[in-house]
Amino acid sequence: MSTSASFRRRLWPYVVAVVAVAVSLFPIFWILTIALKSRMDAFAMPPVWFFSPVWENFGRAWSAQGFSGAFFNSLIVCAIGNVLALAAGIPAAYYLNKRHVPGRRTILILLLISYMLPEFLFIVPMYVLFQSIGLYDTVIGLALIYQVFTLPFTIWLLRAFFADIPEALAEAARLEGAGTLRIVWTIYVPIAAPGIAATVILNSIKMWNELTIALALTFEKAQTVTLAVAGFRGYASIDWGAMSAASIIIILPMALFAILAQRRIVQGLSLGAVK
């Protein structure tokens, strides 16, 4: 009796885990099956669980107007956005990691405010500005505006990683005549490499999945993959196959990230919230 009670006590967390995993994955699994179903199977009622998979939906999604171009635009925006965020964020994190530097508090508050602001507060001014200086509908413009959220996050996270690096290392290098930039580059960056990786991964996920700003600040040339997927909304009642395939295409790179870098993602998310 008492053994079965203690067995039950040890068992229930596993039951919770199985249910939680099933609920988390089922919608993604289900959309994957629809992406692999023929038109007939996709609309079958009751739903069919066993079917012979077809690949034509992925072909139709990928070759839809502007889809592949949008996919590569998003890759480029992520790349440029990450370079900008690190180039400005690493030195800034080093600076703000020091206690007695001018403007530290003000800058930290400014970072919080830019995270807090609703997108439409800066979208309309940026729309006007970008139209007049030729950055509207460009990947560069988008990567620049994404700094509104990637930069605060980068600085916030890297500051937490830099805080764990002993000051003595920098002092020793300084005595040997190394300049500040050299210290950042040769000491802080290598030691905080796992933190930088976590930052790049989380920033990439945010930029890859971003919709609101891209919707307002691009039109055609710089359309991102989220907008290409959004283009299938209207087809909801017509072409579930291509719409589901498009959803799978946008999920796939990020799902791979999650599998390959689960520990970094967890570390980055927790540090961002806890420190």
């Binding site: 967390p13 959309i31 309309v124 001014p125 919709l211 307002a216 989220t226």
Partner: protein, 287 residues
């Protein structure tokens, strides 16, 4: 000191980007909100008329109500569910890493894909959800299609999407708690519930507050999953402040009015953040 002079340059690029991306838009939105300006036409100074119009009309108050309705339910459900899951799954010995990897999958999915997935699943006649419900004899509702069920559906979708965030953070926080207080509680004969109530919860409080602030800000800014599913309908039942700002700026091209919406909404979020922070520091001083 000489080296302080050099170190100042380190912050310059970040400051430049933040000033351009944050300060300039704040000031410019403030200015725009005083104009009557349809993109492409002549701008006219109208004072506070945009503010009076949005506050006395029906669109903005309705959107504000919807947004808070969504945010309050989503934040409460996601925080409690994430806490429950973290408590349960942290007791797992075998496969905990795998469980966490699989559970963060929804977080990786872009809001627009989340929308399409759930639109397909919640389809009243062909969707899997209503089919599964019919197996147990329940006639499923039209979910996103009717006024009373649309917003709860959006809350459900957000819960599926974002609970992993609260779960992951609380799970890491639980793992990092020191063991001594728990042992002391056990020695004093505390029940598991007492130990949770008087040991775990107080130690988790700072993290819980942080999570609630993050999730409150994010849910108040909700856009993607509404734009992608209902577009604000039916009959504006799911219109949020941000979808309204989008409609006003990029469908009606009323830039001044849209800026007024954004300014009022930013002030509301700012006030909320200040209240949270004040409560947080007050408690910190008492403890």
């Amino acid at each position: 000191m000489r080296r302080d002079k050099h170190i100042r340059w380190l912050i310059a690029p970040a400051l430049l980007l933040l000033a351009a991306g944050t300060l300039y838009p704040i000031v410019y939105s403030g200015y725009l909100s005083l104009l009557q300006w349809n993109w492409g036409s002549e701008a006219k100074f109208v004072g506070l008329r945009n503010f009076i119009r949005i506050l006395s009309g029906s669109g903005f108050p309705k959107a504000l109500f919807n947004t808070f309705y969504f945010a309050i339910f989503a934040v409460v459900i996601e925080t409690l569910l994430g806490l429950g899951l973290a408590l349960a799954i942290n007791r797992i010995r075998i496969g905990a890493g795998l469980v966490r990897t699989l559970m963060i999958m929804p977080l990786m999915v872009s809001g627009i894909a989340v929308s399409l997935i759930w639109k397909v699943m919640l389809d009243p006649t062909l969707g899997i959800i209503n089919y599964l419900l019919s197996l147990v004899g329940i006639a499923g509702p039209a979910w996103l299609g009717t006024v009373p069920t649309a917003m709860p559906s959006i809350i459900m979708i957000d819960t599926w999407w974002q609970t992993a965030f609260t779960f992951i953070i609380l799970s890491s926080a639980l793992k990092s708690l020191p063991a001594e207080p728990f042992e002391a509680a056990k020695l004093e004969g505390a029940t598991p519930f007492q130990s949770f109530r008087h040991v775990t919860l107080p130690m988790l409080k700072p993290v819980l507050i942080t999570i609630i602030i993050f999730r409150t800000i994010d849910t108040l800014k909700v856009f993607d999953i509404i734009f992608g599913t209902t577009g604000g309908g039916p009959l504006r039942a799911t219109e949020s402040v941000q979808t309204l700002a989008y409609q006003t700026a990029f469908k009606s091209y009323k830039f001044g009015e849209s800026a007024a919406i954004a300014v009022v909404f930013s002030l509301i979020i700012l006030t909320l953040c200040i209240i949270y922070l004040v409560i947080d520091t007050d408690d910190g001083e008492k403890a």
